[in-house]
Subunit: 223 residues, 2 copies
């Protein structure tokens, strides 16, 4: 909701039509994913947002706060889904299927490849601790469901890492060959996850069916 007061912009209207704060987040999403964090100047950020560089500081204390807000916005829907699935009483493989498929859908959704934010080396910084906390909880959910699928205790960490790796592979695939992703990708990845936890093909199909009902319908509209 654009503010009605204040000096008008010289560069014209808000690109997103949702106000300057959103314009800046949108610009950050675009630039941090494609150019990088350290390689994106506050000037470039402002330019894409359609304002002057100094205007950023009216809305955010700095570049880092823009990135943090994007990161939290990315992990939150995933974490919400994970919590709901952890609390569910459906068979564990169906819930794991739904978690994987839901995350792949989120990674594929939106105009920008926001999952790529997670690949930035600059994330290893105190300032992004709130994001890392949520990520840790999400990873724990993957491990819990993998364990509940009957994977031996000694192999849970290892197997959960592989499952998460499969899901996250969508980030790099979207970057280098976006055309190879399609509506089937989420299902294929989730099916593969059930194969990794050792389920027989016959059982997989049934769990996938249940999982498909569990997975929230494709989010109506985000960006």
């Amino acid at each position: 909701m654009p503010r009605r007061t204040g000096r008008p912009r010289t560069a014209g209207a808000s690109p997103t039509g949702r106000g300057t704060r959103e314009d800046i987040l949108h610009a950050g999403a675009r630039l941090f994913c494609t150019v990088g964090y350290g390689s994106t100047s506050t000037h470039a950020l402002a330019e894409v947002a359609g304002v002057r560089q100094a205007t950023l500081y009216h809305h955010f204390p700095g570049k880092h706060a823009v990135l943090l807000e994007l990161l939290l916005g990315t992990v939150q829907p995933s974490l919400d889904a994970a919590r709901a699935l952890l609390a569910g009483d459906e068979p564990a493989p169906a819930r794991l299927w739904a978690l994987c498929a839901g995350d792949v859908r989120l990674l594929r959704a939106g105009e920008d490849n926001l999952g790529a934010l997670y690949l930035l080396p600059e994330l290893d910084d105190e300032r992004f601790a709130p994001f890392h906390d949520r990520r840790a909880e999400l990873e724990a959910a993957y491990r819990a469901l993998v364990a509940a699928c009957g994977v031996p205790a000694d192999d849970v960490v290892r197997t959960a890492a592989l499952v998460l790796g499969l899901v996250e592979s969508v980030i790099l695939q979207r970057r280098r060959a976006p055309g190879t992703l399609d509506d089937r990708t989420a299902d294929v990845v989730a099916d593969a996850a059930l194969a990794l936890v050792g389920l027989e093909p016959a059982h997989r199909a049934a769990h996938a069916g249940t999982g498909r009902r569990l997975a929230a319908p494709a989010p109506a509209a985000a960006d």
Copy 2:
């Protein structure tokens, strides 16, 4: 081999003992992987290398050339192995197993997580085209072996992307939880790759055995 001529350093001896050029590459490996490319200044690079900032330009035309050389050095051993395996006449699953296990070993080897260089958004730049060419060839090798494993033509691209995703998941896993990687990781990932291409557990074990012999012995020493 350190040069014998030239003004001596003020900051003391070469950290790597292999000369300034190697010191700079070593510093780049450390910093680009942990801090990022855009966030690493030539000053920081020089400091870690143990020389003054201007000295970099005697050895490299700029930061980008340091990164390019690191990238090429990372992809080359992997590409060499892929070419050898593509030309082999052993069963395709055994060769795919060997390719995956070899790449995981390479990603786990060395003092720095050099695979993380591939995650840098800054790579999307003309200057790194030679690296992208080699990467493309490596990815084609994965697809060729996946196809040779009997995966239906329509699924080859999709499946190869998942296999590559499994292998690359080691990069992120090494970054966030290096302690969870061990000597078994390469085998586990390669086994999982065979599961993804649809092999039955009984067949997998045999191919893994052949693959293990194919995979070059762990590189004697790199770094």
